[in-house]
């Protein structure tokens, strides 16, 4: 746990809940490996979200309860899930036809780094002895209509993940539209990182200290506080 998380900011489940609040009724949403998997636990009232997992299922629900796990019903992060009415299974070529063909409304990915121009790096540190592992991330950034990133604002060591320019090998160029971190909701656009919301107890100054690129605020629209 990082220092920032223990002092202020959202827990992982709270970030997931906050992301889900922005999903529109009827949206088809792919959930990436890691923290994004938690989003499936939160569907806002009066809305239906169709969650897609690239390993071959559309229409799944929350993570399976203890004792209800089925090793042949898992998400992209290999966690056991549950099904909702109207679910469908399909093979990998069909699943990635959905992704590459532009049929996914929103994809929520974890990230190692996001740059202010929307570049994302989430598959390899590029270190000489790193085991690179890309999975479906490059297909998702190439094909989904919108890419949102869900991440801790900094690494476990406290280094910024939101940067001027990614130092790790890229997954995709200029693709990220929004970032949901434990500290803020940030839009990625012109001129870069635009702060929309701040978690309770987090100041803009503190956020800037933990971000390796200039933060912007529309004067007419100061950041709101995240209320869950």
């Amino acid at each position: 746990m990082s220092q920032t998380q223990t002092h202020a900011g959202l827990a992982r489940l709270q970030i997931a809940q906050r992301v889900a609040q922005d999903l529109q009724d009827g949206a088809v949403v792919n959930l990436g490996i890691g923290m994004p998997e938690l989003v499936a636990n939160f569907v806002p009232k009066d809305r239906e979200i169709r969650y897609h997992s690239e390993n071959g299922v559309l229409g799944f629900g929350a993570i399976a309860a203890k004792g209800e796990e089925d090793p042949e019903l898992i998400n992209a992060g290999k966690k056991p899930i549950t099904l909702l009415p109207g679910a469908a299974f399909f093979h990998q070529a069909d699943s990635f036809a959905m992704i590459r063909g532009g049929h996914i409304d929103v994809c929520i990915l974890g990230a190692m780094q996001v740059a202010e121009n929307g570049d994302i790096a989430n598959w390899s540190t590029g270190a000489a002895d790193a085991i690179p592992a890309v999975g479906g991330a490059m297909d998702l950034v190439a094909g989904a209509r919108e890419i949102w990133v869900m991440t801790d604002h900094t690494t476990r060591e406290g280094a910024p993940k939101l940067v001027t320019r990614c130092s790790y090998p890229l997954t995709g160029k200029a693709v990220v539209r929004r970032i949901y971190s434990n500290l803020a909701v940030i839009e990625v656009g012109d001129p870069g990182f635009i702060v929309k919301e701040l978690a309770a107890g987090v100041s803009l100054e503190r956020l800037q200290e933990l971000t390796d690129a200039p933060l912007h605020v529309h004067v007419s629209e100061p950041p709101r506080e995240i209320l869950l």
Partner: protein, 236 residues
């Protein structure tokens, strides 16, 4: 709540504009969405580019759309039909454009379009007159043609069962182009025989997942095109 069902054919096809490109399912009459095509004739859109395996039978369905002068160009594999001269007459009169595509290349181009693949290589047609004007490339000593993915504004498809999410099953060989056409259009409109309650379709047996479907219309007892033709029917 997600509910892709429309109450009428008219509403489902209302926004098809002049100049639209439209995928229409079916191999001959099997899988042809005749009611949707007739609604399109009533709706009035002109100057259409149609993708279908054939070019219509008799004077109903696709043949009636062509006969009404609404189709500028047809992309198909087999525009001959024992029972229809509609396409032939317009084609010989230079009033309709034909892009003839081998059936497997047509299917693969539609799937590619739906899958985000802009182009692929195929051995089909290499060394024949249908290779004219196409880029040729050798892989492992064999010649292949470069073919492009097809995407369109609309798809009109016939299926068997659907739930409100747009999950579909088909009936026998009426499946043919339906599943891949659903993938390749900006807006996919499907007529189905039966609206099923959510959760009643087996997730293992859904053929077209709802992600590929935008609008549904229930037509419990669709016309049988060959029966209409043998009665000498024409539309409108």
């Amino acid at each position: 709540m997600i509910d892709k069902f429309y109450s009428s054919l008219q509403a489902a096809v209302a926004d098809i504009k002049d100049g639209s490109s439209i995928l229409i399912s079916g191999f001959g009459e099997a899988g042809s969405p005749v009611e949707l095509i007739h609604a399109l004739i009533d709706q009035g859109a002109r100057d259409l580019t149609i993708v279908n395996n054939n070019a219509g039978n008799g004077r109903v369905g696709l043949a009636a759309l062509i006969a009404a002068g609404r189709v500028r160009k047809i992309i198909c594999s087999y525009p001959r039909s024992s029972g229809s001269t509609v396409f032939q007459e317009l084609f010989r009169a230079g009033k309709i454009e034909l892009e003839l595509v081998p059936q497997g290349t047509l299917a693969e181009r539609i799937r590619a379009g739906g899958a985000g693949i802009p182009a692929f290589y195929t051995p089909t047609g290499a060394g024949t007159p249908l290779a004219e004007g196409k880029e040729v490339r050798s892989f492992a000593g064999r010649e292949y043609l470069l073919e492009y993915g097809i995407t369109t504004d609309f798809a009109l498809v016939k299926a068997q069962k659907a739930d409100r999410f747009g999950n579909l099953t088909y009936n026998k060989v009426a499946r043919n182009f339906g599943p891949i056409m659903c993938m390749a259009a900006k807006t996919t409109i499907v007529q189905v025989r039966r609206l099923m309650p959510a959760g009643s379709l087996d997730a293992e047996a859904v053929v077209t997942p709802g992600i590929f479907v935008d609008r549904l219309v229930e037509i419990p007892d669709p016309v049988v095109e060959s029966a209409l033709i043998s009665q000498g029917a024409s539309y409108p």
